[in-house]
Amino acid sequence: MPLSKANLSVGDQHSEQVVDNLTRTQIIQYAGASGDYNPLHTDEIFTTKVAGYPTVFAHGMLSMGLTGKMLTNYVGDGRLTNYGVRFVSQVWPGDSLTATATVEDIREEDGVSLVDLSVSTINQDGAEVVKGTATARIDD
């Protein structure tokens, strides 16, 4: 259900766990679907022996996609007008991520009601991995 202006207040929050125990297989699924085959995300031997990381890690765009799932569940299908993030920390296999949207403003632009959201996704240790903003159309 899309959000409505009448039922929203600045400071409202919506949180979802968007992945529990991220698997290497899911990272591979993302590589295959997105077309980003960088071995840093899928190739343990390259990543540890050549690139020098402890193991493979998720595409930033996978954490943005996971975070986007929370947003579309909250604001409704096809309602986003803007969505942007900064990739703050790496996401590793085994991580569990919780994404949160917070209502920052409720406004009108050209006769359309909009909600501005801040977005933050944290891992199981409370470290922020994705930080961003989103705007969505809402009902009156």
Binding site: V18, S34, D36, D43, A51, G60, K69, G78, Y83, F87
Partner: protein
Amino acid sequence: MATDHFPIEAGHIMLFARSIGDDNPIYHDANAATGTEPGHVIPPPTFVQASAQFTDGYVLRPVVGEPWFGSGKEPTGVKRESSGGGGGTGFHAEQHYEYHAPIQPGDVLKAVDKPGNSWSREGRRGGTLKFNESITEYYNQDGVLVVTARSVGVQTSRVVE
């Protein structure tokens, strides 16, 4: 990410939605999608990133007959020049989307790259950080701007700790 031909396909949207763990029927069930506000299957908000599949010469996709930098017999298929112990890596630092008009299976998008800014600063974990911005505009088959994407990449001078 420029391409003249990014076909929006239902199966591709389904696979992309699965990869982000999203089982919302609007991404895979055309019948269920008719009862939603958009009224048709739509892609998830980050889907246009998959235009990489249709971008000629995209560097993070193996090319038939050419060496690939991932592992095979050896940990990498490409001998790197000695970099003086660098070990730096390119990362995706930021991604921003503006959504202008709906997308659905059957659409064929055209992606046009626009130049962005470049800047650098000292980072805490990865040495000197060089940032590069790129802007991609996605137009549909009717010439309507559907999505604007702004991407910021960063090159680190050493392994991020």
